[in-house]
């Protein structure tokens, strides 16, 4: 067969070069991913969750650095300049004492975010240890510990919170303690159920037969295999802790003035609602946007971590 005949069968434009960026597509698709790479790959697909993550990161960075370099402080009053509208000098305006609202919002972010993350971390530790022990040891030990959980669970959270505030006074430590004392029970229950179901799986038995020590089985195999729901639960604990802090400060028994918490700011702005409604807008949007973003992150993680919910 001559060359000319081949040309007749295949027109010249039958093949074309792949554009550069498409060449790598198949390579990426074939690369094997570790568990967390896979989760991150799934998470990235969710646009809303990505935007929320970026928002929270910016918020954290601003909460850390803006107060360091700002010429205003959260408590410095400027009585000559109260209730100012937003301007170049005061981006969000000033409150009735002439304090810069922007910097107060940033300080509020420090309080809210650290309360949220700290509460989530403490809950995570207590929840895993308590629930893990109950699920793993079982028997009477489990029965007694879970009855305690039941009792804590059936008393409304706000009651503890208010009682704790009463005993230890209005400061960040007692807010944290109050939030933590009751919110770990949900996680403990979840961890226990997970551990119980994982304990029956064959690999746990196999590990035991192979002679791995009890504690290693508990933490390496069991918790590692039930990490998905635990991460999601912990993520969603952050907004609920932020909510509780804002609520307490709003009622006036949380972070005390002149400290700037979003809740206290909303409470102060409440009295100015009719004359200066804009002062209300800032703390309220800060609370709502943060809660929204954290919830979207939780949803995104939920989707990325749950193999059943992953979109194909």
């Amino acid at each position: 067969m001559s060359e000319a005949e081949v040309k007749m069968v295949l027109p010249e434009n039958a093949f074309e070069k792949l554009p550069e960026d498409e060449k790598n597509n198949e390579f990426i698709a074939m690369k094997s991913r570790s568990y967390f790479q896979d989760v991150w790959f799934q998470y990235k697909k969710n646009k809303l969750a990505m935007v929320s993550l970026v928002f929270i990161i910016i918020m954290v960075l601003m909460a850390i650095f803006v107060p360091m370099f700002s010429r205003y402080s959260y408590e410095a009053q400027d009585l000559a300049n109260p209730n100012a509208m937003p301007s170049m000098a005061h981006w969000f305006g000033t409150d009735k004492f002439g304090r810069d609202i922007f910097i107060r919002i940033m300080y509020g972010a420090r309080i809210s975010l650290s309360v949220g993350f700290a509460a989530a971390a403490i809950n995570l530790v207590i929840g895993i240890v308590w629930g893990g022990m109950c699920g793993y040891i079982g028997g009477r030990f489990d029965m007694i510990l879970m009855r305690i959980v039941d009792i804590i669970y059936s008393v409304p959270t706000l009651l503890y919170v208010i009682l704790i505030m009463l005993i230890f006074g209005s400061n960040m430590f007692s807010v944290l303690l109050a939030i933590c004392i009751s919110s770990w029970v949900g996680l403990a229950r979840q961890v226990r159920a997970q551990v119980m179901s994982q304990k029956e799986q064959e690999y746990a038995l196999a590990a035991k037969v192979l002679g791995a020590s009890d504690m290693r089985i508990l933490f390496r195999h069991l918790v590692k295999n039930s990490i998905g729901p635990i991460i999601v639960n912990t993520t969603l604990m952050v907004p609920s802790a932020i909510f509780t802090e804002a609520f307490l400060s709003f009622v006036g028994i949380g972070i005390s003035i002149p400290m700037a918490s979003w809740g206290t700011m909303a409470n102060e702005a409440k009295n100015m609602l009719f004359s200066a409604p804009l002062q209300m807008v800032w703390p309220v949007s800060a609370i709502c946007l943060t809660m929204l973003a954290l919830n979207f992150i939780g949803d995104g993680l939920n989707q990325a971590l749950d193999p059943k919910k992953r979109s194909r």
Binding site: D150, I151, L158, L163, L166, P239, L273, P277, M280, I287
Partner: protein, 306 residues
């Protein structure tokens, strides 16, 4: 079934007992509380009255027994902040308001949530899907006290549609109920929607339709009934949360319920009142949980037969 109810009631009593014990000893831990023996902030007469009522000169175990005995015989003592007012009277005055607001919020949440969830499970209309997504988003991100403020500002002050204070006509109930119901509505509609679309595909739906039951009737009689079970499980704790979570909403809308009494008693350090209200709230929650369990056992034989 009776055995199940009995077991739940026993558990409830045990929980209540534990709550009372915890509250009692917490109160003794607070520095400056009359129960800690440091009654310096009180007048001599009030001091004497408390010492007598709670036998503070006796050992702590005796005090504890006295407290339990007093409580179960209905003697809750008198308020220390408002001298001489019996606590039973404060509760009797405030509870009806709290109950009315809490219940109307509860009914609002259940009706709106189930309706929205069911409609969005069936409908393919874009605006209904949009509405349910919007409510779900607002519900998780806006705290009830901020939503209450927003409603006050918009409906009460700007549009002047609804009264913003007190609780004298049916119009007064609208804003507090809506404010309290917002996040439960989001939660319930999400629950209803997901469990309904799950139940719609079950084998029993196929069999019901194969028997010739019309689609709408099969949905109403079988799918909806099964889909409601997780909602009921959520509803009990919700009722309790609505009753206790009304603290701020009550003070924002100046409703003279026990929620605002509780906040006032905490800032006023009115210890007998705090103790009584804590136990009251605890019992309400425990009762709500027991009722939920009994109702879901009645609907769902799987729980009963376990």
């Amino acid at each position: 079934m009776l055995k199940y109810i009995g077991k739940r009631l026993l558990m409830g009593v045990a929980t209540l007992f534990a709550l009372m014990t915890i509250t009692f000893f917490l109160m003794h831990m607070i520095p400056g509380s009359p129960f800690a023996g440091e009654t310096q902030g009180l007048s001599a007469a009030a001091k004497q009255q408390i010492i007598e009522a709670y036998q503070l000169d006796k050992p702590i175990i005796v005090q504890y027994m006295t407290y339990l005995k007093n409580f179960f015989s209905g003697q809750l003592g008198t308020s220390t902040a408002r001298k001489g007012v019996p606590i039973t009277m404060i509760i009797a005055n405030g509870l009806p308001y709290t109950a009315k607001v809490g219940l109307s919020a509860f009914i609002t949440a259940m009706v709106l949530g189930i309706l929205l969830g069911a409609v969005s499970a069936f409908s393919k209309k874009a605006w209904i899907q949009g509405l349910s997504a919007f409510v779900a988003t607002i519900g998780v991100s806006v705290p009830s006290f901020l939503f209450a403020l927003f409603l006050m500002y918009l409906l009460g002050v700007n549009l002047k549609l609804l009264p913003i204070m007190g609780l004298t006509s049916w119009k007064h109930y609208i804003m507090p109920s809506l404010a309290l119901a917002l996040s439960p509505v989001a939660m319930i509609s999400r629950l209803t929607r997901s469990s309904l679309s799950e139940e719609l595909r079950q084998d029993y739906m196929i069999l019901a339709l194969s028997k010739g039951t019309p689609y709408r009737k099969a949905v109403y009689k079988h799918a909806l009934k099964n889909a409601i079970i997780p909602v009921v499980t959520y509803a009990g704790p919700l009722l309790a949360t609505l009753l206790t979570g009304s603290f701020v909403v009550e003070s924002l809308f100046t409703i003279p319920g026990i929620g605002s009494e509780f906040v006032a008693s905490v800032s006023g350090r009115d210890y007998p009142l705090i103790m009584a209200l804590t136990v009251l709230y605890g019992s309400l929650v425990i009762l709500a949980n027991i009722l939920t369990d009994i109702i879901s056992a009645m609907i769902d034989p799987r729980i009963r037969l376990k």
